[in-house]
């Protein structure tokens, strides 16, 4: 019962916040919504028993990315933007696309409507560590390379024109 309450409340939070992200006029608001939504997702991960993922989500997304975005929004934000429409004129078409796609996606979801968890959730951190330093060594290293490249790229692009 508790499980249901947790799941539904978190899901509602996530979806409502997500809708907020894409519809809010004020970009600051939608960034805040994003933060909330990501936090809700972290909760969902926890309810799925993915403890390490939960931690990563909180640290990287909620406290990292969301904050970064909020900062950027505030950096770029102009007061004059607030009254501007934030949605372009193809929203109806987009809605249609989403409706059509939902048909397919939800069909898959329905396919698994009888699937229940068979075992209890167990801590996975140790296994993840093994995986990363063993079989998945190369992807792990590659991702670190990607992060490094992103770091350099970000520095490169965000330097001001004068300092180049």
């Amino acid at each position: 019962m508790l499980e249901h309450i947790v799941f539904y409340s978190l899901s509602t939070l996530v979806l409502v916040c997500a809708i907020g992200v894409v519809t809010m006029r004020n970009t600051v608001h939608s960034a805040l919504c994003l933060g909330l939504c990501l936090a809700g997702l972290a909760g969902l991960f926890a309810s799925l028993g993915a403890d390490f993922l939960f931690a990563a989500q909180v640290m990287v997304y909620v406290s990292g990315i969301a904050v970064l975005i909020i900062f950027t929004v505030m950096l770029l934000g102009r007061a004059s933007d607030l009254h501007l429409r934030q949605v372009n004129d193809q929203w109806m078409a987009a809605l249609l696309i989403c409706a059509v796609s939902s048909e397919g996606l939800l069909k898959i979801a329905r396919f698994f409507s009888g699937t229940l968890a068979t075992t209890a959730a167990k801590p996975a951190t140790r296994d993840i560590g093994r995986l990363f330093l063993g079989e998945w060594m190369i992807p792990f290293e590659l991702v670190s390379l990607v992060l490094m490249a992103a770091l350099l790229g970000a520095i490169f692009f965000s330097r001001s024109e004068a300092s180049r």
Partner: protein, 689 residues
């Protein structure tokens, strides 16, 4: 020396390279003497080859080959590698021709040192002449038809370069193009003949091809096709009807170059080629007949055109064409020896004629016979040498032309009487127009005083070659005719084994004359090479011919001795239509210009089709949907906007219009939208199945 015959073209070629690339372009460059030195060396070699062939113990034909490259070939589903050879094959005709070519080339080069003096492209001229000589020597000595063809084309190139030597003027440019294209047209026949020979024989070596023919492996029809191909090629290069149109125009080049290329040597290459591949013709009587008639018609047409021309070089050009016709005719009727003999003597006296004409032009600075006259007083040496040449070409007894022409007439008489009479008439015309030229230039009064007063005898470097050539023109005939030398060196090739095809050809029911020819052939065959050629005119005919030639000269004297030309004018006025016909060169030029215009139209049509049909249908056909869509949107626009949008706008516009109505250019989100649409459709289709 004969084993080093390959040196001949190589020496000339390297001399040409050095002259082309070494040193600066300078009107006083000493480099031409290098070419002259090289040519002297070639002449020495050629004479030693000739000497050993004529008087020494040299065994002819002499063949020596080297591997050139290897070629993959397939026969009957099996593939293998065959070798292509390059080498020398020296037979009697080659030995004689080598001397002729090197000698004339040497004379021309010495002569040109003065003639071309001061030209801005002095050095280059000599490089071209040497290059030409190299190609010609290569053609003569080559043992392989492929190399022969290569040299053949290279001669075409050097002819192109020399005709257009003064390319700043429009005339030479047109002429050089015309020459190259006309000979190229002929060459395509030769090209096909080569293909056919290789397809049948599998080799380009002349000796192997000859063996193939000798063994009777070649069907007569194929031999005929090959022979016709070779004839077409020879017609192009040797200016035979109807491809002779280029030669008169080729006179736009420097006169000594014309003497060498368009009179003495290159144009003889066609005749030489026919003689090199004479076994093909022997295997195909109909091709022989065709060659004979082609030569005859050419000789007649060209001689007739020479009657009315007033350009000294054009007259000589027409006479060249005509004389080449004589040779071709001789070869066609089976007179191998006489044809090649005439080729030799003709080279000397025609080179002399051209160089003499050059000397005149050098003195008076015009080509127009009407503005010359009386030059004998100013230029005695030129006058005398020209007289020898004119007598020689007219066939006056004692001089070289007499001997060779006499042999030709005899061979033709033995073949067909009708042909003989036409040819005799042509010979009379030859004597007439040559003396017409001679009298107009040297006799009578000076018609253009200014030109006349400036005229002077040319320096020794010009007259020297004239005198030397005059000696040869006078004596070469008698010298070669002496002691059966000509029959020994220029013996008609024989067919060693009488195969079915040739036997049938000879055994065709014949009239008396033909039977006689066949008899000659049979005798030649029984005793092999070196048998003296036994054809003579009946004595009465011989005397008649000589008398008629003298009459013709006399007629010419009375018409053109000056100072007034009443008789000539009267003749011209009475025969106006014929004169026009001759002046328009029997409308052959117009015919070919029509062909060229036709080709141009074909080209324009082809391109139109390419741009408007092929491009439209095939390029755009695959994207037909896009096109239709573009059209629809275009029409849509038209309904609302205006109907004046160009209906036949290019596809580019249509495509652009179509695309532009779909998206605002450069909008990422619109692109994304299309991606999403396709994604969602795909996802739905796949997942909800």
């Amino acid at each position: 020396m004969i084993e080093h015959a390959y040196l001949l073209p190589l020496i000339a070629f390297f001399a040409s390279l050095v002259m082309l690339f070494a040193g600066k372009e300078d009107p006083r460059s000493p480099l031409p003497w290098l070419g002259i030195g090289a040519m002297t060396a070639c002449l020495t070699i050629a004479v030693s080859i000739f000497w050993s062939a004529a008087f020494g113990g040299g065994v002819l034909p002499y063949e020596r080959n080297w591997r050139w490259f290897s070629l993959a070939a397939s026969i009957g589903g099996k593939s293998f590698i065959v070798d292509m050879s390059v080498g020398t094959l020296i037979d009697g005709p080659a030995a004689v021709t080598l001397v002729v070519v090197t000698l004339v080339s040497l004379m021309v080069q010495i002569y040109s040192v003065v003639y071309m003096h001061g030209d801005t492209r002095f050095k280059r001229y000599f490089a071209f002449v040497s290059f030409f000589t190299a190609a010609m020597l290569g053609l003569v000595v080559s043992s392989s038809l492929l190399v022969t063809f290569a040299c053949w084309e290279l001669m075409g190139l050097s002819s192109y370069l020399l005709i257009g030597f003064w390319f700043e003027r429009e005339g030479p440019c047109e002429a050089q193009k015309k020459a190259f294209m006309t000979t190229k047209l002929g060459d395509s026949g030769l090209y096909l003949a080569l293909l056919l020979i290789y397809a049948k024989v599998g080799s380009f070596q002349l000796s192997q091809i000859q063996q193939f023919f000798d063994n009777g492996f070649m069907p007569a029809t194929v031999a005929t096709v090959i022979a016709v191909g070779i004839l077409v090629g020879a017609a192009g290069k040797s200016a035979q009807a109807p491809l002779f149109i280029w030669l008169p125009d080729a006179m736009e080049g420097p006169t000594p170059g014309s003497a060498l290329i368009h009179a003495a040597t290159m144009v003889a290459a066609g005749i030489l080629l026919v003689s090199k591949t004479y076994f093909v013709f022997l295997a195909s009587p109909s091709a022989m007949e065709a060659a004979g008639w082609m030569g005859l018609i050419t000789a007649f047409l060209a001689a007739s055109m020479a009657l009315v021309s007033f350009d000294i070089k054009r007259v000589l050009a027409f006479s060249t064409v005509s004389q080449l016709g004589f040779m071709m005719c001789a070869l066609g009727v089976g007179g191998f020896t006489s044809g090649l003999f005439h080729l030799t003597t003709h080279a000397f006296f025609k080179a002399l004629l051209f160089l003499g004409a050059g000397s005149v032009i050098h003195a008076v600075h015009t080509n127009d016979l009407r503005r010359m006259g009386g030059l004998s007083k100013k230029m005695p040496l030129t006058f005398l040498t020209m007289l020898i040449a004119v007598l020689a070409i007219s066939g006056v007894p004692g001089l070289s032309g007499y001997y060779s022409k006499d042999l030709i007439l005899a061979d033709v008489w033995n073949h067909d009487h009708a042909m003989f009479w036409i040819l005799l008439f042509t010979a009379l015309m030859t004597a007439f127009y040559m003396f017409r030229l001679f009298f107009l230039a040297f006799w009578g009064d000076d018609r253009d005083h200014e030109k006349f007063s400036h005229a002077h005898e040319s320096p020794v470097l010009i007259t020297g070659p004239l005198v030397i050539l005059a000696v040869f023109s006078a004596l070469a005939g008698a010298g070669l005719d002496h002691d059966g030398l000509v029959s020994k060196l220029l013996a008609k090739p024989t067919i060693s084994v009488m195969p079915g095809a040739t036997a049938a050809a000879v055994a065709v029911p014949v009239d008396g004359a033909k039977a006689e020819t066949a008899g000659h052939e049979a005798r030649g065959e029984s005793s092999g090479r070196g048998e003296r050629h036994e054809s003579h005119l009946p004595p009465w005919l011989h005397m008649t011919a000589i008398t008629l030639v003298l009459c013709s000269i006399t007629l010419s004297f009375f018409m053109y001795r000056g100072p007034t030309y009443a008789l000539a004018d009267a003749v011209k006025a009475n025969l106006a239509p014929i004169c026009t016909l001759l002046e328009r060169r029997w409308y052959f030029d117009d015919f070919f210009y029509g062909l060229v215009a036709l080709a141009d139209q074909a080209a324009a049509l082809a391109f139109w089709i390419d741009a408007n049909v092929v491009d439209r249908v095939f390029v755009d056909g695959w994207g037909l949907l896009m096109l239709i869509f573009a059209r629809i949107s275009d029409a849509f626009d038209n309904i609302f906007v205006d109907s004046a949008v160009d209906g036949v706008g290019s596809l580019g516009n249509d495509l652009g219009v179509g695309l532009r109505s779909l998206v605002k250019e450069g909008q990422v989100q619109e692109y994304l939208m299309y991606a999403a649409i396709s994604f969602s459709l795909a996802a739905t289709l796949i997942l909800t199945r």
